[in-house]
Amino acid sequence: MMLQVEKLVVNYGVINAVKGVSFNINQGEIVSLIGANGAGKTTILKTISGLLKPKSGKIVYENQEIQRQKAPKVVAEGISQVPEGRHIFPGLSVMENLQMGAFLIKDRQKVKQSFDEVFERFPILKQRKNQDAATLSGGEQQMLAMGRALMARPKLILLDEPSMGLAPIFINEIFDIIKEINNHGTTVLLIEQNAKKALSISDRGYVLSTGNVQLTGSGEELLANEEVQKAYLGG
Amino acid sequence: MKTNFKYNIIWFIIMVAGFYLMNTLILVGVINTFIENMLVTIGINIILATGLNLIIGFAGQFSLGHAGFMAIGAYATAIITQTATTPVGFYLSVFAGIVVSIIAALIVGIPTLRLRGDYLAIATMGAAEIIRIIINNMKITGGAAGIFNIPQLASWPTVYIMVCVTTIIIVNFIHSRGGRAVTSVREDEIAAEAMGINIFKWKLAAFVLGAATAAVAGSLHASFLQTISPNDFGIMESISILIIVVLGGVGSITGTFVAAIVLGVLDTVLQDFGALRMVIYAVALVLIMIFKPSGILGTWEFSIKRIFNRFKRKERVEQ
């Protein structure tokens, strides 16, 4: 098992956002977390990547407890996050943004290799490499955020609503890319409102509601589940 | 309508009671000149800080030039009451101070309020310094020596009444259409404008209202202290008003009252610590901010209405 989250509880001050969530991810899988607005998905991701400290519970990554570790340390361990709302660095060029992604990698050769890989995957970023990232369009920014996360050569990548605000044509593209990244050996934890798409590329999925896991199963099982269909697939 | 009237009456009673309480304490001798001095200073600081809180806390405009407007009021009173040594003269001078400071606030505000954040702070600070330097070099203002032997036409009752009046005006403004417009400017200028709010006009309104009350405080300061000099109205004075606002809670008028009182008392108590006073004051300031980052009261406001409602709810539960 690559990542195991056990009875995770996270609070914002007095607000209890995550109320004892457990789930796990195996090496090489794509796992989706779906759930309504405010279910606590983003909060879970932020806790895994060390931006938030849990109230209680455990996060075990490659047999190591990481719930008390700070974000930079978690990144160093091989977990990268593509945050909700992209959070690219405005004012830095596309190139510099990508360089920031490889911040912890000392080996120049590897950095160069990552650049090549990212540019191959997102040719548009290569075209725009000297442009201020702030002036990119939404879709381009999303690609940049993914590219930046990949620059760290993560073993596990956390994606928070990568399709939000994207044109339909880009949505398909983004999901293709996720599959491709996964095929190249990166484990993926995916959060999506577009549950249909997400589950269709996922090995397994978890359905969250207001801070708890409600349902779990393989991607196909969940897609077929009536409750899920009703609540999250608009059917 | 009736209930609204009730709350207003209660407020009025509180204010009158406060006045008589103080009067009695002075007659009995519990409050001597020293305490009276402290209370008056606190009162003047309350007027200054509520005005600044309107600008910073409610309109979200970072002004660092409040002392400049205070100076205008102070000098108006000092100069006018030199010749018109009567209460009427004093009120005339207050009025003159308000008018001049409104004009100055318009001159300063119309160009600078287009700036944002720290740039605005620096520009207003610069404007206040310009006012101070001009005063420092004028004949009628007595130059660097300032003006002394100003007749004391404002004693504590005047200050007390002015505190009440300016607070009522500012609080009522905040709870009106204008106040809401001003707050929306603080929250999000672009959204406010999209809702049909002329953000520039409302920023300016808050700035001018704040400046006018600062002038009133300046008049009281001059008349009560009987001496003023340009050095009283420097950057440090603006900063000390800012400290009251932030310490009390940006956006809480009640907080401003509390902070002005706490700091006023602290300042007087620290007189016993000699040369260490400012060191202790500095440490206290840092500690309060670290442990209460949003100020003593945050954005909480004292409200009679709320107390009443809680009372009623309790009664209902008990029945």
Binding site: N37, P168, G234 | E187, T299
Partner: protein, 259 residues
């Protein structure tokens, strides 16, 4: 040929970039129109031009409203809002630290007649207008099922609810035209379906014209009477949902194959 809003040859340049180039379009009374297009096509920029958030480079925008005909280009945003154009934002821009009720009351300030003197001295007229405003705001909030959250700070609302509040706030200015920028972004299908119903209801009830940007095709195709497609700043196509769905250029640039 008296459109409510007539846009001709609108252009917006950012430095070297032409974000909106020569766009002409119109909105009629009580219409529900969608604006779609790939990311970076210039949709939000077009909204910004129409509502005066940013100045136009060239072109004209004319409103033929109830109170007369106005050229909107060059007017500041607040004047345009007062003339009856109201909007929501792609990245929600609520007054975060204010209550839900205050958010709505603020949107009503520009219409309110409350006087400065009356409010400073708490004259009876102050209480009267205040009461009216609160009543009106409550009514609106009730339509959107927000009446129980009136005292909640906007920033503490769940995302979807914030989007709903933004719509209420925009309606509180009593607009003739309502612009919605990706109202369903970040919502799941169920929430999106609810929102679709709500928008329809609002349009009927207040007799307003709606122009909306959305990437969620289920919402667009269900709601829109007409659709404009923008690509690289220019109009690519215009038509009914069925026409647009079948348009090859649109499929290639925006919808993509599949589904």
């Amino acid at each position: 040929m008296t459109s409510l809003l007539q846009v001709d040859n609108l252009v917006k340049n950012f430095g070297g970039l032409t974000a909106v180039s020569n766009v002409s379009m119109h909105l009629d009374n009580n219409e529900l129109v969608a604006l779609i297009g790939p990311n970076g096509a210039g949709k939000t920029t077009l909204f910004n031009l129409l509502t005066g958030v940013i100045p136009v480079s060239s072109g004209s925008i004319v409103l033929k409203g109830d109170d007369g005909t106005f050229a909107l280009n060059g007017k500041p945003a607040y004047r345009i809002a007062k003339l009856g154009l109201s909007r929501t934002f792609q990245n929600i821009r609520l007054f975060k630290n204010l209550s839900v009720l205050d958010n709505v009351l603020i949107a009503m300030t520009s219409r309110s007649k409350e006087g400065f003197i009356a409010s400073i001295f708490r004259l009876p007229s102050y209480y009267k207008t205040e009461k009216q405003l609160v009543e009106e705001a409550t009514k609106l909030l009730t339509i959107f099922e927000l009446e129980d959250d009136m005292d909640v700070l906007a920033k503490n609302l769940p995302y979807g609810t914030q989007r709903r509040l933004e719509i209420v706030r925009a309606l509180a200015t009593k607009p003739q035209i309502l612009f919605l920028d990706e109202p369903a972004a970040g919502m799941n299908p169920e929430e999106t379906a609810n929102l679709t119903q709500l928008i329809l209801k609002v349009q009927h009830r207040f007799h307003i014209t709606v122009l909306l940007i959305e990437h969620d095709m289920s919402l667009v195709m269900n709601l829109a009477e007409r659709i404009y497609v923008l690509d690289h700043g220019s109009l690519l196509a215009e038509g009914t949902p069925d026409e647009i769905k079948a348009n090859h250029k649109v499929i290639k640039a925006y919808l993509g194959e599949g589904e």
